[in-house]
Symmetry: C2
Subunit: 316 residues, 2 copies
């Protein structure tokens, strides 16, 4: 037994303070708090870490503020292509999908792969066929599209055509959402979901659905969900590296997470990650200017942050 | 400077000794030796580990005996879907493709992703579009199909329809090819390529293109290419785990590779892997009955094996 803990992120990046209005910042705080409560509600009624991260990521996917599910960013073809993964620390069961457009909640698609197939990763049309066969709830393409993402793609394509420098915030370029949790029985779980990068090449897959890169969970060490420049997280096996440092070097969660975040920065890999260990410790390192993030412990008070300020408690 | 080394595999599994004739076994030995020579020729003329593993895996892909490129196994739809990855231990550059049918050599597609895109992983139609834009050599679907793989799919679908037990050799079910190398400058590289599993669900992706699972390379530790029941290799981040054990626990290549192979077996993950470290040491552990495998050192003598027998030297 022990205290429950859930942490989530909604993307990391430079997020220049002038790039979002105070009103928008408040909307992010409110959105993060609502998603934290969705995950906490599961844990508070004795639910599993797996169910809690599923609920939290579904809420993040449903919120068009974040780059996953509804509001996912668009490829150069003007369509969203979504990736998601989930992992259960109890037995290292895992599921992932990549390059899908249709299921309302890609994290549920990943979970269905984990639970209803002998496989870990399904992609593209084959993944969609599997989702249809298992009765996942689909939405038309228009559901996922938001004016904001269409404008972001238009601006990005215009920028490329003009040859101007890329001064978008990293969070706009490669946002991701994710959650990690520890339940009352000490089980850990992680889930991540994303639309990838605005103006990405169709078919590009980042670290989100790559188990060991953007998503990882093992009760013996930690649960991790990452966000950032995915190619670096893949090449450095970021999520598994944190687990390996804890297992093989005896590093604390905090030390391992911080080391990996700094090592990624030194190599040019901007981003951040959230992690929780079996004792319920949480680490939320990021090497970029900010990371939309939050935690919620047994008291049910969501604590949220965007830049390097201390997390701000909200209403329970 | 130092001695060159190249190792390769052509799949692991039970390979019951009665399941292949002496003639077939000789064909495997000859095929493995030819692919070893293709990789060694690059190293012997001072080429890079990256070029050597590319050449060796291309040769394995071109040989219909092995489950990659020509001769790749078929999905339930009766079509091959190929995955491949490559990684350069010098800078951890990596490239991967999944779910493709068209490029004659999927490993070249992976390498082109690594060298000509800012991305690590491209899948499906988007990957194919990228390959066309970069002038990769395509072959018609009939090039990849062999009577043996068509018969294997027919037999597997008939077995499933009849409800009979699955007594295929694991190597038939989930073969893979791969190579690891150390060049004269001490650089390491790994490459892996596969058609996946006979009768797999379309869209299923195994460990091959998952960096850290089926493919990994870092000059500081080792280069690894795996073959086996991919879902287990993904969940245990097998290739990166070997590297992490060396980096964080000071384990030797041999100990780390053997430990991971045995741990996978204990969890139900049959298969094997090949690995090389910066000193040119090689480990070829497998927890199944056999693994098509071989090594070639500075003497240019290919050494090949199928079951647990000592590797058999061939003609230089």
């Amino acid at each position: 037994m022990g205290g429950t803990m859930l942490a989530l992120h909604g993307g990391a990046g430079t997020i220049p303070e002038g790039s979002i209005t105070d009103e928008e910042a408040e909307a992010y705080h409110r959105g993060l708090a609502a998603c934290l409560r969705a995950g906490h509600a599961v844990l508070a009624r004795g639910g599993s870490a797996l169910d809690a991260v599923t609920a939290a990521v579904m809420a993040l996917e449903d919120d068009p503020l974040f780059n996953a599910g509804r509001g996912a960013v668009l490829t150069t073809d003007g369509r969203p292509e979504m990736d998601a993964a989930i992992m259960d620390g109890a037995d290292r069961a895992a599921g992932a999908v990549a390059g899908i457009l249709g299921p309302r909640n890609p994290v549920l698609a990943a979970r269905t792969v984990m639970e209803k197939s002998p496989h870990v990763m399904l992609i593209g049309e084959g993944a969609l066929r599997f989702c249809r066969e298992h009765g996942l709830f689909f939405m038309p393409e228009t559901y996922f599209l938001t004016d904001r993402r269409i404008a972001a793609l238009d601006a990005e394509l215009a920028r490329r055509a003009s040859g101007a420098a890329d001064n978008r915030s990293d969070a706009d370029r490669h946002g991701t959402v994710g959650a990690v949790a520890r339940d009352a029985r000490g089980n850990l779980a992680a889930a991540t979901s994303t639309g990838g990068m605005t103006g990405k090449m169709p078919g590009r897959v980042g670290d989100t659905p790559v188990i060991g890169a953007g998503t990882f969970a093992d009760n013996a060490t930690c649960a991790v969900s990452a966000t950032g420049h995915g190619e670096y997280f893949i090449r450095w096996a970021a999520a598994h590296d944190i687990s390996a440092r804890m297992a093989y070097r005896g590093e604390t969660l905090e030390a391992a997470a911080q080391t990996v975040s700094e090592a990624l920065a030194a190599r040019g890999g901007s981003g951040g990650l959230i992690a929780v260990d079996a004792a319920g410790n949480v680490a939320l390192p990021f090497n970029s200017g900010g990371m939309y993030r939050g935690t919620i412990g047994p008291d049910g008070v969501p604590r949220t942050g965007i830049w390097r300020e201390a997390l701000r408690p909200g209403d329970p």
